[in-house]
Structure formats: structure tokens, C-alpha cells
Symmetry: C2
Subunit: 282 residues, 2 copies
């Protein structure tokens, strides 16, 4: 499996973010893609476009971030390109992973009757960005937790490869939960219904909702880098066991049916209108 | 073989360049890398960071350039990433090629006594950029030829795979001939001596030299995307035959010896001082 994801200062991270977390984010958004495909990470290439105003200390901290994650995720830098740019720092990583031949988890494959699952909690990174922009105030530990989720995603490689044979379709949540489930629905030619109240939120996100942040923002904010996948009802027991073994929280949030598109229902079963499904670049 | 090369507006091309040639350059600088390794192109990924001020006509012309080169070079787009950027247009291509196991042409491998070869002509693209910047005036056909070389490199995939078993080391000339031969010398732990007068120049480049442009500029200008390689003397006959079969001009420009670094000698055998070896980004 070969995957590529770029991050740009001012779009995916802020220019003033700690260099080691920028390095980790560049790498991890790609590890998240590999995990979503059921692939085990092997190697990566890094293209860096530098504005030219970075000092040695910055680059050293950046390299330290890469080194730390290389060790943790068992992945090695095997090449890349370095260029100057008159624009913002941009980092493009190409990650290469291994998957048993013909068993990659694709976007197509979800079937009516399947259940929709998601890892971890949704909306934290989008809230972390709001905190960094000064648009959201919570308790100090909550704000710290949300900012950490924005700075450093937590990919789930330990889970990804074990989903082979269980998940019928899958991807990682980067544009926003609703938008990304829309990609599964479109590729699989099915409809997906999400129960808004079942989407897992962190305690910090719950505190933000209590302060008036809308659930819509969390379900469309993006940058989550959690895995979303569909699986037949028959896989439920094995998935619950897998959650225990890997320590990754797994939550059932909806169902697959015939039809097209993604719908969201509230606790009373009423459709919730979503004017936008996720982050769009243009 | 997996290789990646990025191009940035204002660094590798000009923002006002024709969109189809920008697409072709993004792809071809990578095809040139594959050829240098002896690899046959198979597939590529494209990451595009768009400033957001591109209209449909621009994107259509860009896609047309990609399509044209996909057909010509037998390569298919298999993935990528699209993002917005507050900076200039940046395109990162990852090209994947195939080479018989263990037979890739590396930078290490040049041996004392080997000869140094280069394809095509050197310095045209750097002169093309000077023309575009209004720094060089020649006859209209000469200026047109040089600008074309800057806009659209001519990778040599038809030659690359046939160099396996003949070339002892190789790469493509992107930073500048002297700098890139320096990479071979360093990786191979040898020295390389280049005969300045033997470096192949186009008639347009010769006209520029007659107008006062120094040879140093041509040998360090970069952006050539020609192949430079070393080969034992015993391969000379087969290489000359290969030049005839493929229609690619091949020229012997120097020798490999014990020692370190790259030296350049003039027609009288006297060392020519080179204060810079190639284009540096910082």
C-alpha cells in the first residue's frame, strides 16, 4: 500500500507549532491512512519545502520528532526531496505499508445491514484548533487535551492490520466524519445512517458541547485521524474482543442500508440537517 | 524503485508558465529519476497544493498535460492528495518503477578507470530560464529552443533500463552537472575529472557562450534532467551502439580516478576553478 498526505502551514498546522509535533503530524496522518487500509507500516519518503527562515535548533527538534515516531511505529525514512519555497512550510510524506495480497480494506465493500464503527473520539482536533485560535475557552486540562489532539494525531496501526477479514470497508477520518463516511457510501453504492448521540466524544468535547459548540461542528470538523469502518453484524463479538486486546476504543455509531448518501439522526430518530459534511479546501 | 521530486512555483517553474508544461515538468523530473536508476516507469502519485486562484481552464490544461505524458511514458496516476495553500503552487510527484531485483543503478559503484558519460546536451534549461527572465538575447529559434528545455525536460526512459549491466553508477542531472557528479564521487568514494571542452552543448548554448555566457554557468546551472553515469572502458562499444538504437546522444566527458571530489580541466589540461558546483536551495 502506497499512500501520500501533505500538510501545509496555515492549513493543517500553525507555523508557530512545536517543530517536533509538526514532524509527528506529517508522519502520523500517513500512518493513519495505512492503518485504515489494514497495512503494516514499512518505510516512508519525505518531501520538505522550506521557507528558508528555519534555524538549526528548529530543524534539530523537527528531526527529533521524526526519529521518535520512526522508533515507535517501526518505520524508516528511505528517501525524499528538499526544496526551498517562497511560501509556507509544506511537508509531503509518502508511506509504504504491507498488506496480504488482495486483502486491503477499500472504501468500496460496505453492504446493507453492515454496522458503522469508529475508533477513539471524534471532534477533538477541530476543537483544539479553536482553542489555539482563541475561539474556545474551557478548563486548562481540557484545553491542553484538545490542543494535543490537534498537534499530534494518534494513528491506530496496532488495530488496522487486525481489521482485515472483519471490516467490509474503511478509511481514516481526516476531512470530517460525515464527509468521510460519504466516501464509503459513494464507493460502496450504499447509504449510511449515523446516530448522532452514539458518536463517541471525549470529556473535553462534551464540556465544549455543554458550552454551546454544536455537534455538527464536531462531526464535520476533520483532522480526527480515527478509523471509520463498516462490518457485518456477525463481526461484532470479534470487534469487541479486539478493542479489549488492543486498548483502542471502538464504538458502533450507525448502519448501512440500500440507497445513497449519509444521513444523521438525533436521539428521537429525527433527521438532523447537515449543510456541510466536512472540511473543504476550496 | 520509488522516487519523489517536487516542483514549486517561483523555484522550479514560473507561475505564468503554460499549465500543461507545468504538469509535464512535474511528472518528467521524476521519470528522469527512474531512468537514471534503470527502472521502467509503472505508476505515480500526485500531491497538489493549490493557491485557490486557478480557474477551470487552467486545471483542464494541466490535466491535459498529464494525460498526454501518461500515454507517452506508459505511466498511470494511482493516487495522491489535494490541498489548498496560502503559498505558491507546489506539485509533488512520487513515481514507482520496476527494475530487476538487485540490479538498480546506484550512485555508489563508480570505479577508478571508469569513463564518465552524459546524455543529450548540458546547460540549456538554465539558459532558458535566463531568456525568460530577460537576461539573455539570442536569435528567436535559439531562444525558443532554450525556453522549451526549461519548460519541458526530456527524460530518457528508453535508455535508462538498457544501462543496467553497463553503467557502474548513475543519476540524473538536476542540481547541475558538477554538483551531481560530486554525488557519484562521494557515494562511490572516488574522484571524477571532467574535460570541460567535451561537455556536449546545443547550438543555442554555443551561441550563448559566444555571447559571453561562461561555461561554468552551464555546467552548474541545473534543471538539465539528462543522465550522467560512469561505465568501464569495456562498455564503450555497447554504449555507442545503444546511442544509435535509442537515438539518444551519448558523450564521454571525463574519467574516474582514485581520490575524492570533482575537478574540471580545460582544453590544455589546466584545472578550471569552480566556486560553486550547482544550484543550492539555501
Amino acid at each position: 500500500v502506497v499512500t501520500t498526505d501533505a500538510i501545509v502551514a496555515g492549513v493543517h498546522f500553525l507555523a508557530g507549532d512545536p517543530p517536533e509535533t509538526i514532524a509527528q503530524k506529517a508522519l502520523r496522518v500517513n500512518l493513519s491512512d495505512l492503518a485504515a487500509k489494514g497495512a503494516t507500516p514499512r518505510a516512508y519518503l519525505l518531501t520538505a519545502a522550506w521557507p528558508g527562515d528555519f534555524d538549526d535548533a528548529w530543524v534539530k527538534a523537527f528531526a527529533w520528532g521524526l526519529k521518535r515516531d520512526q522508533k515507535r511505529f517501526g518505520i524508516t525514512l528511505i528517501g525524499g526531496d528538499t526544496t526551498s519555497t517562497p511560501g509556507p512550510l509544506m511537508l509531503n510524506v509518502v508511506a509504504i505499508g504491507e498488506v496480504p495480497s488482495g486483502r486491503m480494506i477499500a472504501r468500496a465493500g460496505a453492504k446493507p445491514g453492515d454496522e458503522v464503527w469508529v475508533t477513539g473520539s471524534i471532534g477533538d482536533a477541530a476543537l483544539g484548533l479553536k482553542v489555539l485560535k482563541g475561539e474556545l475557552e474551557l478548563t486548562a486540562p481540557h484545553m491542553k487535551a484538545l490542543v494535543a489532539r490537534f498537534h499530534i494525531p494518534e494513528p491506530k496501526p496496532q488495530l488496522g492490520s487486525k481489521l482485515i477479514g472483519l471490516a467490509s470497508a474503511g478509511l481514516d477520518v481526516s476531512d470530517g466524519l460525515i464527509a468521510d463516511l460519504g466516501h464509503i457510501a459513494a464507493a460502496s453504492r450504499v447509504s449510511i445512517c449515523v446516530r448522532e448521540a452514539d458518536v463517541p466524544l471525549s470529556s473535553a468535547a462534551n464540556a465544549a458541547v455543554a458550552k454551546g459548540v454544536s455537534l455538527v461542528e464536531l462531526l464535520t470538523g476533520g483532522d480526527d485521524y480515527e478509523l471509520a469502518f463498516t462490518a457485518p453484524v456477525s463481526a461484532r463479538g470479534r470487534l469487541e474482543a479486539l478493542a479489549k486486546v488492543t486498548g483502542v476504543r471502538l464504538t458502533r455509531i450507525g448502519e448501512v442500508a440500500k440507497g445513497r448518501g449519509v444521513s444523521v439522526i438525533d436521539g428521537a430518530g429525527k433527521a438532523v440537517p447537515y449543510s456541510r459534511a466536512g472540511y473543504t479546501h476550496f
